[in-house]
């Protein structure tokens, strides 16, 4: 008689899984941030070339090529045996934005990482999450040697809504990265509470 392996011990717990996205321009420190709080692993996806990528992904001469490889980083934080948080670094190049729709589906929220020397690099990410009502916080990565700006100026430059949290962080520093992630979860809770209220009133 076959009893299978569960006979030997209790069956593994099926964890609740959640994901937070880490977005921002190229070289802003997304990989560093994910690596500061979790083991980081590269993930490959082979995506079908979509309409979005067609004008840029020039396949003339290689008409047989219908997929493109997108690489991104992800990390796993095991909070409890039955509670796991995944972080996904979104692909930076805009032509891979079709990936974002898949990534953002079901995401708890997002971090938009900003570099004050190149704030415009994160406009697109801010816009993306605003349009889709995905809760996000802006993490200003304080690079050494970069001038510090008052929070108000950064907010204004990004045209942020008053309720979007803006946090200073160092993507290399575990403690500040933890605070940013906690900020995302708290903001997601607040957004959900607002939505509930607007439904009942």
């Amino acid at each position: 008689m076959i009893f299978g392996r569960s006979e030997r011990g209790k069956p593994p717990v099926e964890p609740v899984t959640l994901k937070i996205l880490v977005a921002g321009g190229f070289g802003v420190g997304k990989t560093t941030l994910v690596g500061a709080v979790s083991e980081i692993r590269p993930l490959r996806t082979e995506e079908l070339l979509t309409e979005a990528g067609r004008p840029i992904d020039d396949t003339s001469g290689v008409e047989g090529k219908h997929t493109t490889t997108v690489a991104m980083d992800f990390g796993r934080i095991t909070l409890r045996e039955d509670l796991v948080l995944y972080l996904f670094g979104t692909p930076g190049q805009e032509r891979f934005w079709f990936m974002w729709d898949e990534l953002s589906e079901g995401a708890l929220g997002a971090v938009v990482l900003a570099d004050t020397r190149r704030l415009e690099d994160c406009f697109a990410a801010v816009d993306y999450f605003e349009r889709r009502s995905i809760p996000f916080v802006v993490g200003v990565n304080c690079f050494e040697g970069a001038a510090r700006y008052p929070e108000d100026e950064v907010r204004q430059a990004l045209d942020l809504d008053a309720d979007v949290p803006l946090l200073l962080c160092d993507a290399r520093d575990r403690e500040t990265v933890k605070e940013v992630l906690i900020g995302v979860v708290e903001h997601a809770m607040a957004c959900a509470a607002d939505r509930r209220q607007s439904v009942t009133t």
Partner: protein, 113 residues
């Protein structure tokens, strides 16, 4: 060097399998027995069952571990679900946020890291 979709015999989707989320969790069925003895399964199929036998694994983790593109692993998981060798638990649906108590646990868990 094997072209990635050779492992799926060119398929990019598998029957009855809608797109699995990257954080959908795959678990081997306790009755899965010994998939290695099944000649119709590829080594990659067998690897997936082996990896999620004792520890549930997300689609993203399986793809990273096997160094295969996500799309390929999706198809392979679909085959295994159809053969009832693994089952998949889906994350909380997008429209509804997880329970507030879970979110509090996440915050406390992060603080304790």
């Amino acid at each position: 060097m094997v072209r990635p979709y050779a492992m799926t015999r060119g398929r990019t989707t598998s029957a009855g399998q809608h797109r699995l989320d990257l954080i959908a969790v795959v678990l081997a069925e306790p009755e899965a027995g010994d998939p290695e003895s099944d000649p119709t399964l590829s080594p990659e199929h067998v690897d997936i069952v082996g990896l999620c036998r004792d520890t549930p694994q997300s689609l993203a983790e399986l793809a990273a571990e096997l160094d295969l593109p996500v799309g390929v692993v999706r198809v392979l998981i679909g085959d295994l679900v159809a053969r009832e060798l693994v089952h998949v638990t889906r994350p909380v649906p997008p429209a509804e946020l997880p329970d507030e108590s879970i979110l509090r646990d996440v915050i406390n868990g992060l603080r304790a890291l």
